[in-house]
């Protein structure tokens, strides 16, 4: 660090918010006011980010919204808040484009009754209809639902080509296992959150089980040399693959953050923020920058699909790492 003329030791302080928003709010303020940390890293989950961002912003602390986030945060002016993930505004049109290409004519949309589900559920329908895909069913389901077989059976009864779910891992796991159990197979099977996670998804259902399932994301080792490096490092360190949605983006956002700090040569949040908001730096996924709303825009992919154990990017255009597999093969026969 130039300001101090030397590299500064870094101490990581982390607290557990026991998944309680009140505790989280207190702990963030504790980190800022009591521990006087230099930099703040965010809590996991969209709702948590929503609560953390205004607090960090109030004290002029940079917060990079890695794990989670939503378009809704655009409505609030938070100059110190940076968003890393891609959202429904780019993923929904990308999915519609892929569907049109492979020849999907009808779709069923189910979505979780929360911030994430509603945002995606609402966003998809117009893009589908624009491309001549008929949405024959659109239903929300409550968090904590125990049985989704009636949703699957209804979609199956309507004979839709594509089944699209804006879900979280719990619902995604249930949808996958119940379609397997019921032998219900769609030509296209897409879930927003879950497929990108190799450990949760591929780990539970196996390489053959997840073959052809699409999910939000996306990147893989083929994306860039830096991406391959990240996968190797991650496998070495944790014995499993990183997640193929945010994994690389967070990594790159931190590299971007680091270079911004180095360039600023100070711990002054304002100066670093200004550099982050305006400059491009080279990262593991290539050039990295934020738009005027402080959203990262140069994502290596929007939609992924499991093909032979690899989460391939299937976006229409040059980001594609493999052509989409359509129709999806039937679920594997179990013992």
């Amino acid at each position: 660090m130039e300001e101090y003329g030397r590299k500064l030791p870094v101490e990581l302080k982390r607290y557990d918010d026991k998944s309680d928003i009140g505790t989280m709010a207190n702990l963030i303020e504790k980190l800022i006011l009591e521990d006087k940390v230099d930099f703040l890293f965010p809590p996991w989950g969209t709702a948590w980010l929503f609560a953390a961002a205004p607090i960090a912003n109030k004290y002029g602390y940079i917060l990079i919204g890695g794990p989670g986030g939503a378009l809704k945060l655009k409505q609030i002016d938070l100059p110190y808040f940076f968003q890393v993930l891609n959202f429904s505004d780019t993923q929904a049109p990308a999915l519609a484009e892929i569907f049109e290409e492979v020849g999907v004519k009808t779709a069923a949309v189910v979505y979780r009754g929360d911030l994430h589900g509603i945002e995606y559920g609402e966003a998809m329908v117009p893009f589908f209809e624009e491309r001549g895909i008929e949405v024959k069913m659109k239903k929300s389901y409550p968090p904590g639902i125990k049985d989704m077989s009636s949703l699957l059976k209804e979609a199956d009864g309507l004979n839709v080509d594509a089944f699209v779910a804006a879900c979280y891992p719990d619902g995604g796991m249930m949808l996958t296992s119940q379609s397997m159990e019921l032998g219900i197979n769609f030509n296209a099977f897409f879930m927003t959150v879950l497929p990108f996670s190799p450990s949760l998804f591929k780990g539970t259902f196996g390489e053959r089980g997840v073959e052809g399932v699409m999910g939000g994301g996306a990147w893989n080792a083929k994306t860039s040399p830096g991406a391959r490096d990240l996968v190797d490092k991650f496998v070495n360190l944790f014995g499993e693959e990183p997640d193929y949605w945010g994994g690389l983006y967070y990594w790159a956002s931190l590299q971007h953050f680091r270079q911004a700090i180095e360039k600023a040569g100070t711990l002054d949040q304002k100066k670093i923020r200004d550099i982050m908001a305006s400059e491009r730096f080279d990262t593991a996924l290539g050039p990295y920058w934020y738009d005027e709303d402080r959203y990262f825009v140069n994502h290596p992919g929007e939609i992924g699909q499991w093909q032979k154990g690899v989460f391939e990017v299937i976006d229409v255009g040059e980001k594609r790492t493999a052509p989409p597999l359509y129709p999806k093969p039937p679920w594997p026969k179990k013992k």
Binding site: Y141, D147, S150, D170, M173, E181
Partner: protein
């Protein structure tokens, strides 16, 4: 194939089987031992995770794990009663005070068991595939594992009912439920019978958890949901009535299946509306007089 009425009814039965099984244990614990065990779902969770561990780590058939989960959970329940609840019972100024205190102690147990489980297994959602193939039944299609679950739930329920109705021990339990003092006079060691009941409740939870893990995804924090369902069921069937819990379970499963078909978002709302209506209008349960 459209979703048929039969489809909805059978789906309701499949759900109801699980509901009934987890409610019977709670019903016994409350009906006889007078402990409203809010940590009941935690015992279910333990059963589920033991089965999951045995299956994924050692390849033990989940149906075999039933034989292990039951006794393990029974032991935990039995010891807990002796160490904790019997003392609360003896000390309490009134039966009402005992019910209140023991319920609060259960809240403590809930936190303890849940967080121990998180320490052991991590907070992530888990699952495995077992009998995960479709079975065609009367023109409708169902998952094999859920049918197995239903079958076992009914068998376990029946065995349990026969145990209470026919065996000497079962009769002692029922006597203690009706008149604890008289049972004590008749030479029944009341503390041991109550501990037995609490243990049996935990055993049922363990079996329920093992069955649940075959067709549902599991998580250390899953307990409270199941406790609430079990609570609704035993209120529906009448507090403390074993056959009532069974019928209540199937009733609630049916309601859940119908509402989920019409508007999935309202399923839980419907459960709680029913729960509160029954509490207000027929506190002795829909079967009660």
């Amino acid at each position: 194939m459209m979703v048929t009425i039969l489809d909805i009814i059978i789906a309701g039965m499949l759900l109801g089987g699980i509901y009934a099984l987890i409610a019977v244990g709670l019903s016994l614990q409350y009906g006889v031992a007078r402990v409203l065990n809010i940590a009941h779902g935690e015992f279910i969770m333990l059963g589920a995770f033991i089965t999951w561990t045995l299956y994924t780590a050692f390849g033990v058939n989940p149906l075999l794990s039933l034989a292990l989960c039951g006794p393990t959970l029974f032991l935990i329940g039995y010891v807990l009663y002796i160490v904790l609840f019997s003392r609360l019972r003896v000390r309490a100024a009134s039966p009402g005070a005992y019910e209140g205190n023991s319920m609060l102690a259960c809240f403590g147990l809930l936190f303890i068991i849940q967080n121990l489980a998180i320490l052991i297994w991590g907070a992530d959602i888990k699952g495995y595939s077992f009998f995960a193939f479709p079975v065609d039944f009367a023109g409708a299609r169902f998952a094999a594992n859920r049918l197995i679950t239903l079958g076992f739930a009914i068998v376990i329920g029946l065995v349990f009912y026969l145990f209470l109705a026919r065996t000497r021990l079962g009769k002692a339990i029922r006597a203690s439920a009706q008149e604890p003092e008289a049972a004590g006079l008749m030479g029944v060691n009341i503390d041991r019978v109550l501990a037995l009941c609490f243990g049996l409740g935990a055993l049922m939870a363990g079996l329920g958890g093992a069955l649940i893990s075959m067709s549902y995804k599991i998580q250390p924090t899953m307990g409270l949901e199941y406790t609430m369902i079990a609570l609704i069921v035993i209120v529906l069937g009448g507090l403390g009535s074993i056959p009532g819990s069974f019928i209540g379970g199937f009733l609630l499963g049916l309601v859940g299946s119908i509402v989920t078909y019409v508007e999935p978002g309202l399923a839980l709302v419907a459960y709680y509306v029913i729960f509160m209506m029954v509490l207000l209008l027929k506190p002795k349960g829909v079967l009660g007089k």
